[in-house]
């Protein structure tokens, strides 16, 4: 077990493994996202209240879910890097940030586009929207903090603290619709005992979430490879040609 962790934690091995894994994430991700898009736009019936506008759900909810999921991955990776001093974990956390920020931006933008016809406004300062906006600032702050250090080790440590402290925001986003009165509708899917939307409308949502997860798997493999190369620029395995 320890041998395995050690082997995986070694940059050349991780670099090669990630290169092999990436297409196994990428192609299924593309297929599932296209399938879910077709299903969500064409096959799923229009909502009896929201008409066709509800179809925005299929890009909005998975983006919002990914924005929180990636933040947790980033914070866990940063914590592992801090506790066990594993550089690869720090590199993984750094690779998460731009992907997470993209999904957070998408969740906010598609939510805003959905909010206009449904609530009559692009934006309200309610708990759900505000805490999601804070998540975007956490990602951006994390990236800005990293780039403000020349020394990667100091950047790792400082940004890890920010990532770990910021994780408090994730449960706040999740429970914001229950703790405060907000315009945002409560979760209609995670009530597993009795989801409040029809199963034929749920399928594209699940497929899109899996597609986005795989897309994240692909993107982090690619970014982590770039990150490893940048950090290992003077290492011997690279000098000898990988």
């Amino acid at each position: 077990m320890w041998l395995w962790i050690h082997k995986f934690g070694s940059p050349p091995h991780a670099y090669r493994l990630l290169g092999k894994m990436a297409p196994w994430f990428g192609w299924p991700a593309l297929a599932l996202i296209l399938l879910a898009t077709w299903w969500g736009l064409v096959k799923a019936p229009a909502d009896y209240q929201q008409g066709d506008a509800f179809r925005i759900l299929y890009v909005h909810a998975p983006s919002a879910w990914m924005s929180m999921f990636i933040y947790v991955v980033m914070a866990v990776a940063a914590a592992i890097g801090m506790i066990w001093r594993i550089k690869l974990a720090h590199a993984a956390a750094a690779a998460c940030a731009p992907i997470g920020a993209s999904f957070t931006f998408l969740a906010l933008a598609t939510g805003s586009i959905w909010g206009k016809p449904m609530w009559g406004t692009w934006w309200v300062w309610d708990a759900r929207l505000t805490s999601e906006l804070i998540l975007l600032f956490l990602y951006l702050g994390y990236m800005a903090l990293r780039s403000s250090f020349d020394d990667p080790q100091r950047a790792d440590r400082a940004s890890a603290v920010l990532a770990i402290v910021g994780v408090i925001n994730v449960p706040i986003i999740h429970y914001s619709v229950e703790w405060w009165t907000t315009l945002h509708q409560p979760a209609s899917v995670t009530k597993l005992d009795k989801p409040s939307i029809a199963l034929e409308m749920l399928w594209p949502l699940f497929i899109m979430i899996v597609g986005f997860q795989l897309y994240f798997g692909w993107a982090i493999s690619r970014r982590l490879r770039g990150e490893i190369l940048r950090r290992e620029r003077n290492a011997r395995w690279l000098q000898e040609g990988a």
Binding site: A53, S63, A219, G226, Q239
Partner: protein
């Protein structure tokens, strides 16, 4: 199924298509930037391994 009816999205065309278009754009940009970062680093690693 009527294509025009489909594109109209029950009157919500602007919202639905903007949301999907934006999602596609952001995913695509992420794809391009991850790819480019990786190949830039590969290029610089290659240059370092063969100093001439």
């Amino acid at each position: 199924m009527d294509l025009q009816e489909f594109l109209r999205m029950g009157g919500y065309a602007v919202y639905v298509w903007t949301a999907y278009g934006l999602t596609a754009l952001v995913l695509l940009l992420n794809w391009v930037s991850a790819r480019r970062r990786e190949s830039l680093e590969q290029e610089s690693a290659r240059r370092r391994s063969r100093p001439d």
